[in-house]
Amino acid sequence: MNATIEQLAATLETALGSGSVTADASALASYNVDGKSPAIFCAPKDQDEVSAALRLCVEARAGVIPWGGGTAIRLGNIPRQADVILELKRLNKLIEHDDANLTASAQAGIKVVELQQILGQQRQFLPVEPPRPDLATIGGTAAANINGPRRMLYGGVRDLVIGMKVVLADGQQIKAGGKVVKNVAGYDMCKLFVGSLGTLGVITEVTFKMAPIPESAATLVATGPLSRGLQLVDQLMQSTLLPAAVAVVSAEATGVDSVRPAVAVRAEGFEDAVARHLRQAQELAGRMGLRAEVLREETHRSLWEQIRDFGSSGEAVAYRVTVPVASLADVVETIDRWSRSERAARFVAHAGSGTVWIASAADPAGAAWFPRLTALAKEQRGHAVMVAAPPEFKQGVDVWGAPPESLSIMREIKRQFDPHAILNPGRFIAGL
């Protein structure tokens, strides 16, 4: 920094008003990033104030941590510098819900659960399901590219976000995309910010596609030996069924079964189509000798909430391994074997995207998972990310894994958008 904390706090206060800025250590105690506690907290009330704050921070060369709900703050490398928390919770308004067009725009700081409530009044929802939607904001969800279980039917964040407003590091306010579902005017700049973890700009508004709330939804849960569960998944993937989600959960990963792993198949849509999915999945499960049970209403909802929230609270160490879908069975079996022979871990695997989430205790054996998962993923042309861990585990590793061959372009993008590296410095891949 080239200003003192007091100086920067004072200029921020002049720009945002005294109620919006504090340098009081006790107020900042809960805004810890990998063991680093920023000295200034500010909460701009609108996009202009975000811009004003960033302009001052870049002048002072202060490290800025944009903060939504804090649910993905454990993601990323340890920041090199963390001086200012820029909280977006006051940008919490729905801008527009065009229900006839199935699109909506909201300010970045709106909580996902509140947004879903508003959309739900028109029987629509945003098919993105971050863990802890009571805390997670829409902006943070987009920035961290948090995808939920139903991605296989509805697409991921990158597919659903069609427009954005962003404040760049130098305070420049830009818009990306638009409000229509089909749009190829200019570069697809939304793709730049989705998943950039707040290292290129601060998202202040998001426009996305929605889906109608399905008429009916239910889940078939099949429990039994893991290998047979994985065969069921394989059969489902080969069928013409279109489940909304297929998850493989280890024993104890959810409240479903404390001893046996389970496969959860979620169907939604018209009543008849749901019945068909349940029927066929049940038949397949029966043929495999799995015990099958249909969950509806509360038990259905609660299971998927547990799956959604897996690894997000309490867990000391969490990893995400992503591999081509056909390799998922092998990877899950290997992880299960390690878990039984070495260090107990729980996992949830999403068949549609080839993603496995693994959670384990914070001891050296838990930390030892990372290099092994990385090697396992690499064998299958995938990757492993350490998504949450105590800072001592992050020391000396890149939580994102080995950088891709295109790293030099990523570096150049970072240089173009944030030349003084003030936004989440160091948290992204290869310390970007």
Binding site: A100, P212, A326, E412
Partner: protein, 478 residues
């Protein structure tokens, strides 16, 4: 480096046969499917990625631009060499390199024709979802560059939703994979950024694309309306009812007239509009969705709703839609395709506005388009031989684009900005927005070597750009 030295180098790289410099050879490459023409100085047809790299390095040394070209079906002048330099045509790189059905991925070279990807996996029960109406001719490289859509991208998403990774040759001549074979590759989404960059960031030399499982059932409906208004309202209502059809296409009266003048398929000539509605999924879904769609059509006063009872009948319902574009030739010697988008809910009013623009400029406009996602294709009919008529066509086109943006939409839904719309991009994005895009451009291509003078509203300095209606290959529709 002199031009002669460059040409000699290029010949060494790809072989004499694949460097074209004579007027009668390069004239084929002076235009895409837009009305814009510039005679290329030199056209190079590489055979593999190594040659592409070498050509890019040679161009860099000689400090000349490179304009990538696929099949030349683009409608925005994207492949037209507005600033001279090398036209790099990828048509020879047309191999399907890998098909991995278990992982639902195909890896293809950029010159592979769109339909050939689906053809290669149909028997096994798979398809490649983005299906531009030009799919019999357009290339995957062009699709990636333009982020192309098609009738069935309503339910399945456009090209960007189906490209996992691209290998691209960048400004230093290196071939680099952007994106990965699996979801959520760590780092910035370079593949997502590259898709839709219209050839301004580098040359696509391979693409890893998603394959989808063929749906078990399909229902196709044709609904006939006496007025345009209830037809557009039906589109709005179907979406609002929570049905996402695989395709939801519209044709207006003038288009119907053209179709029935050519090879009639039995559309009522006095109808104001027909909607083609296709529903895909599991049988139980399509059955119910089709019934609901029929109800909505009837409630909006459709004169007739026909449901295809067989694959043959389905093909027949589509036939008119697919032949509409070609059939417009029966109404006028030339036509100019516009491409704009509005929120679906604004369709009724934008269709009125398009009609008004037609009468204001004394031009007939035939509409045949992807109504389900609000993507208009007004085809402005004209006669090139009438002095001044093309100017009026272009003004009318601009008025339509402005109306779309004013209605909260976009100036292009799938054809891109290219040369055609660079002057209008400011309608949607201000200088700061464009500057952010320019930063992206600089990160990939600091010298602006790839496809200069496209997308951004910079002036064209090239000497001679001409306007001439293109000859569209047979077998394409719009």
């Amino acid at each position: 480096m002199s031009r002669d030295v460059l040409i000699r180098e290029l010949r060494q790289i790809v072989g004499d046969r694949y460097v074209l410099t004579e007027k009668e050879d390069v004239i084929v490459y002076e235009q895409d499917a837009s009305i814009l023409q510039v005679m290329p100085e030199v056209v190079v047809l590489p055979a593999d990625v190594g040659q592409v790299s070498a050509v890019v390095r040679a161009a860099r040394r000689a400090n000349v631009p490179i304009v990538p070209r696929g099949s030349g079906t683009g409608l925005a002048g994207g492949a037209v060499p507005a600033e001279g330099g090398i036209v790099l045509c990828l048509a020879r790189m047309n191999r399907i390199l890998e098909i991995d059905l278990k992982n639902r991925v195909a890896v293809v070279e950029p010159g592979v024709i769109n339909i050939d990807v689906t053809k290669a996996v149909t028997k096994q029960g798979f398809f490649y979802a983005p299906d531009p109406s030009s799919q019999a001719a357009c290339s995957i490289g062009g699709n990636v560059a333009n982020n192309s859509g098609g009738p069935h991208t309503l339910a399945y998403g456009v090209t960007t939703n189906h490209v996992l990774a691209v290998e691209a040759v960048l400004d230093d001549g290196q071939a680099v994979w952007l994106g990965g074979r699996v979801a959520d590759s760590p780092g910035y989404d370079l593949c997502g950024l590259f898709v839709g960059s219209e050839g301004t960031m580098g040359i696509v030399t391979k693409a890893a694309v998603r394959l989808m499982r063929t749906r078990e059932a399909v229902q196709t409906l044709l609904a006939v309306f006496d007025r345009m208004e209830p037809a557009t309202q039906t589109v709005v209502d179907i979406t609002a009812a929570g049905i996402i059809p695989a395709a939801l296409e519209m044709m207006d009266q003038l288009t119907i007239e053209a179709v029935e003048k050519g090879k009639p398929v039995g559309y009522p000539r006095d109808a104001a509009a027909v909607l083609l509605i296709e529903l895909e999924g599991v049988r139980e879904h399509t059955e119910r969705a089709a019934r609901l769609a029929e109800e909505i059509c009837s409630r909006n006063g459709a004169r007739q709703v026909r449901r295809a009872q067989s694959e043959a009948e389905r093909q027949l319902l589509w036939k008119g839609r697919k032949e509409a574009f070609g059939a417009l030739g029966a109404l006028a010697p030339n036509y100019y395709v516009q491409d704009g988008v509005v929120p679906r809910s604004r369709l009724p009013e934008i269709m009125r506005e398009v009609a008004e623009i037609g009468s204001r400029y004394r031009l007939r406009i035939a509409n045949v388009f992807h109504a389900g996602d609000g993507n208009l294709h007004p085809n402005i009919l004209f006669d090139m031989r009438v002095p001044g008529e093309l100017d009026r066509v272009i003004e009318a086109g601009a008025a339509i684009v402005k109306a779309c943006v004013a209605a909260g939409g976009s100036l292009t839904g799938e054809h891109g900005i290219g040369l055609e719309k660079k002057a209008y991009i400011g309608l949607l994005f201000n200088d700061d927005d464009l500057e952010a895009m320019a930063r992206m451009r600089r990160a990939f291509d600091p010298d602006g070597r790839f496809n200069p003078a496209k997308v951004f509203p910079t002036p064209i300095t090239c000497a001679e750009m001409r306007r001439q209606p293109a000859k569209i290959p047979a077998g394409l529709w719009i």
